[in-house]
Symmetry: C2
Subunit: 229 residues, 2 copies
């Protein structure tokens, strides 16, 4: 019996990527989870990713380190204040300061490198175009363009051994549906971290990520199991 096919899953440690990992497992893949330490202001989400990968049975979990602060330009890596207390409709009006230049392109590029060495034909990303309408690199047309480029980029794709697919299974789902799907697949959201400003005392509850998370849980009719400070 041949083994399961390998897939690389980008895992930040939040609700979306944890759900994406569970979806990849459910589709029958052996999952290789990939997390980045890129100069975020806190390590909490990396710890969350480690817990999620272990709980969902990833075959391997790697954390790659580089420093995006070299280039600057984002509230997630610089000293720009994370906006607090905004309504969801306000968040989509313009691209938020929490946008990190070219982040998904960098993440997917590393996933592509690992996919090639694993002979994996599938890469999963938890991008969603609904909640983060303001992020250019979360749109379906961006994901498609990356996939097209990826199929010209690697030795395996050129030799025809590896037709790569970039899966973004959440791209058109509202947060409440993502949470319902994840719960059905056994995701323990108590292990996840979403907050842009997390501390050991818990999530802030007021940044864009916390507000969208809380709204999602409320709409799904489920209590968010994490601590808020």
């Amino acid at each position: 019996m041949p083994g399961k096919p390998n897939a690389v899953v980008l895992l930040s440690g939040g609700v979306d990527s944890a759900t994406t990992l569970a979806i990849a497992k459910d589709l029958g893949f052996e999952v290789y989870a990939l997390t980045f330490r890129y100069g975020q202001r806190h390590e909490a989400e990396i710890a969350g990713a480690r817990r999620v990968a272990a709980a969902l049975g990833a075959a391997r979990h790697e954390t790659l380190t580089f420093d995006l602060r070299t280039f600057g330009g984002s509230a997630l890596t610089d000293d720009i204040a994370v906006p607090k207390g905004r309504a969801p409709e306000e968040m989509t009006k313009e691209i938020p300061v929490t946008y990190v230049p070219a982040r998904n392109t960098i993440f997917l590029a590393f996933a592509l490198a690992w996919a090639e060495t694993l002979a994996a034909r599938d890469i999963f990303i938890g991008a969603t175009a609904i909640d983060f309408a303001g992020y250019p690199d979360c749109r379906p047309e961006y994901i498609e363009a990356f996939q097209r480029m990826a199929n010209l980029a690697t030795k395996a794709s050129v030799e025809g051994r590896q037709r790569l697919t970039i899966h973004a299974p959440l791209i058109r789902l509202p947060k409440a549906e993502i949470i319902r799907k994840g719960l059905a697949l056994g995701v323990d959201y108590a292990l996840t971290v979403s907050c842009y400003d997390a501390s050991p005392a818990g999530a802030c509850g007021r940044c864009d990520a916390c507000i969208l998370r809380l709204k999602g849980f409320a709409e799904a009719g489920v209590t968010d199991p994490i601590a808020y400070r």
Copy 2:
């Protein structure tokens, strides 16, 4: 008078990227040189990049560090032996073991991040499809696909402020022509490092990169100014 437009130039410290940097300067760009420490077996090429950036007057030179050995799969980052003594026609028969999975995609992704924070519309890469016919990510169709993806990936491109161009000015040039062009633009090739197996005593003279370099200088009718051990 408005200042010069900014451009990001990928700079490995070899002949091709040094020439590309000189071309970008000659075209009137303020150049921001970007080098990667990604788990290569020697630091000599990074030192070469530093010397080249200084000599050609880059506005800034950054070296970003990450470890591609996490994924494995290349003689440049693993313990696979670098092939020696091959004829140029042998090198293009198949993709060499010195191929690093998704390397140019990763490099260009970081260049894209920096370009966005610099408000640069231009990225230069010294890819050449002639000498390294075996590298999928050195082909014109790959560069075009990356450019298309890049124009969907960033805040600046989506807002129409930044139509990005990926320049690969050497892509159809044989090494001898690259060297002639660089000499005409004042590149000091004594500062460059090409060898896959460089040591303080000099270049090996027998790996693919050394053989292509020596052949290029011979065909250009110029003496290679670096030391061979």
